[in-house]
């Protein structure tokens, strides 16, 4: 009997301890107004090669300077943003201090005032606004750190075998010889909306979805790593993907893979789309604003942008970073288009309709 009581007590105590630890808030809590200088700094990043490149460049320099470690919350910007919405609604600390954003995510978070305006930390970040040719997506928030495009990546030997010329426009993806062997990004991915724009022929996003619905796809992928695996295995012969992934595949096997930024129909010969930019934004209510600003200094430095591009294929926004990149490897001179020759996605028009477009995409392709 006594043994049973002891066992019951131990079980109850262990369970209570487990419950209390589960209920405890994560990370260091700081008094309101005081800054956490110990870290770790939590950065939201895409994952895979993106995170590895951040670790090797900005995060390494940041940690060497401050002694503070960086932790990563990996996922598409929209996925991490969903966590920010949830914590904001509860009045809790955000899950990340710095977030990689894309145009729609930055727009949505900025509209909800969940990002720290640049004016609150610009004096702590060196060179943040220097030489950035593309306008900030959202006035008052972080400028772009890299610009990205949607490329058409293809299997060169297979195209030759099928008698297909090397692709030049997005319509080449619809060739009958490629039926059942093309992959396109799902609308839930960062590439999804720009791809719909790319094939819309300038007639609106719904027209783009209608056109995609006629395409006989092998897969509508949610992970570009998945797409790359399928292309390497020979399951797909052509795919729409982000330029970083496309150039990376070409670099890994230039005999097997080719990539281009195709012509966009209805755009007077311009290529693209210039899907947008990537940004790093500091999240509102972070207790590590100073550390986050220090991290931003590193992530926006030209050396970081050039090295990041070399590792991931994502083109820097800063012209001086582009010059640095080309000086290190001349192949980038052919890969980086002149801004005036490209078609940008109009995110201010697209973002308000994301929910409806997602619903329409699922209904027509599901």
């Amino acid at each position: 009997m006594a043994k049973r009581r002891s066992l019951a007590f131990v079980t109850l105590a262990a369970s209570a301890a487990l419950l209390l630890s589960a209920c405890a808030s994560g990370g260091d809590s700081s008094d309101s107004g005081s800054q956490d200088t110990e870290g770790p700094l939590r950065v939201g990043a895409y994952g895979s090669t993106w995170t590895e490149a951040v670790k090797a460049t900005a995060a390494k320099a940041f940690t060497e300077e401050t002694g503070v470690e960086v932790e990563y919350v990996e996922g598409n910007p929209s996925d991490v943003a969903a966590q920010i919405y949830a914590t904001s609604a509860q009045g809790a600390e955000p899950p990340v201090d710095v977030l990689t954003t894309d145009d729609p995510t930055q727009t949505q978070l900025a509209q909800r005032e969940l990002l720290v305006p640049v004016s609150e930390y610009a004096d702590k970040v060196e060179g943040l606004f220097e030489n950035v040719p593309t306008e900030a997506n959202n006035e008052g928030y972080a400028p772009p750190v890299c610009d990205w495009y949607i490329t058409l990546t293809y299997n060169k030997p297979k195209f030759a075998e099928l008698g297909l010329p090397e692709p030049t426009s997005w319509d080449d993806l619809f060739a009958s010889e490629l039926a059942g062997r093309v992959a396109i990004p799902d609308i839930t991915t960062a590439m999804g909306l720009p791809f719909i724009f790319a094939v819309s022929d300038g007639e609106g996003m719904s027209a783009g979805i209608d056109k995609i619905a006629t395409l006989d796809t092998y897969s509508v992928y949610t992970s570009s790593g998945d797409m790359q695996s399928d292309m390497a295995n020979g399951n797909i012969w052509a795919a729409a993907t982000v330029d970083g992934r496309g150039w990376g595949m070409v670099d890994s096997d230039p005999e097997q893979f080719g990539a281009i930024i195709p012509e966009v129909a209805g755009a007077d010969g311009k290529i693209g789309p210039r899907a947008g930019s990537c940004y790093y934004d500091i999240v509102k209510d972070t207790p590590r604003l100073d550390l986050a600003a220090k991290f931003m200094s590193h992530i926006y430095a030209d050396e970081t942008q050039a090295e990041f591009a070399a590792q991931t294929g994502y083109i820097p926004s800063s012209p001086s970073a582009i010059d640095l990149l080309i000086s290190k490897d001349g192949k980038w001179a052919d890969r980086i288009p002149e801004i005036d020759t490209t078609v940008p996605v109009n995110w201010q028009e697209v973002v308000p309709n994301i929910a409806d477009l997602t619903d329409e995409f699922n209904r027509k392709l599901g």
């Binding site: 049973r4 943003a81 949830a86 295995n233 399951n235």
Partner: protein
């Protein structure tokens, strides 16, 4: 069954289980970390969505639940989810029961075979899915063999559709169901099979007409577990099912994480839970009535 009324003799009290107290922490944990968040989440289904992550708790509505009933798109998603669940259940039982039977009757090899089954479940779902993507791919080994043998001219579409999703999910849940069914088969007395053999029944006949009927209750329970697993399955159907396999778990995730429409996501979640609950109640009723008939026949 005798009662106090019939005989005037009070039935002896069942001895109290002294270990019931150890269930209390489990119930507290389940209540605090599962039931409460679930109820709070379900509550959002009855309020208006104000934008990404914003719910207007002052504006009650049945709009989202209503949409699921009246919109053909959502009706199709619900139907596809149920079909997916049923397919996984049927094929898991079709494959799992014979495996469980072989293991249960394997004599001294039983433990080794059980270890093999358990070890297969150590592999992460992602690794299994990647393996299936390679096997089932258009240029994968299965299609290559079929083309070399001249059985097909063009590769079969075995992945990024319902077929791929079912194959992957069956593979994922099979070890669990086999482990559940082995004791079910063990409860079927070997003497019954011997008696059937003595009466001239072949092995297949004995299996079909003796072992299977005797295991019906266990099969229902195993089927319910497989169905519940399939209905809640996300990773495998998302990666192997492609865009055409849009089932409730995938749509729930999309509504929560992409469009961040919590009320719609909650409404879909309630639908999923209700479907599983209804099927479970029906399955348990079938099992209980079968159990009652077996008791009466004794």
């Amino acid at each position: 069954m005798s009662s106090t009324r019939d005989t005037g003799i009070r039935a002896p009290r069942k001895p109290r289980n002294p270990f019931r107290v150890y269930l209390v922490p489990l119930f507290i944990l389940q209540f605090a970390t599962f039931l409460v968040p679930l109820v709070l989440f379900f509550r959002t289904a009855f309020f208006k969505n104000e934008g990404p992550g914003l719910v207007d708790y002052g504006h009650a509505t049945l709009e989202y639940l209503g949409l699921i009933f009246v919109d053909p798109y959502f009706q199709q998603v619900v139907l596809d989810t149920i079909i997916f669940g049923l397919l996984v259940t049927v094929f898991t039982l079709l494959l799992g029961f014979p495996i469980a039977y072989c293991i249960a009757r394997a004599g001294r090899f039983k433990e080794s075979l059980l270890v093999i089954v358990i070890v297969t479940s150590f592999t992460s779902v992602i690794i299994k899915v990647l393996g299936w993507k390679i096997l089932l791919g258009a240029s994968g080994p299965i299609n290559s063999i079929l083309q070399v043998l001249g059985l097909v001219d063009e590769p079969l579409r075995l992945v990024n559709n319902l077929f791929g999703a079912v194959v992957g999910t069956v593979h994922a849940v099979l070890p669990l169901i086999v482990l559940l069914l082995v004791p079910v088969v063990e409860r079927v007395p070997v003497q019954l099979e011997e008696a059937a053999a003595g009466l001239g029944a072949r092995r297949l006949t004995t299996y079909w007409r003796v072992v299977l009927p005797a295991s019906r209750i266990g099969l229902v329970s195993g089927g319910l577990v497989a169905f519940a697993y399939a209905m809640g399955s996300f990773t495998t159907p998302a990666l192997l099912g492609g865009k055409t396999t849009l089932i409730l778990p995938i749509l729930i995730r999309q509504e929560a994480m992409t469009t961040v429409n919590y009320p719609m996501s909650a409404a879909l979640s309630i639908t999923l839970v209700v479907i599983v609950a209804i099927v479970t109640v029906i399955g348990l009723s079938v099992g209980n009535s079968r159990r009652a008939r077996v008791r009466e026949s004794k």
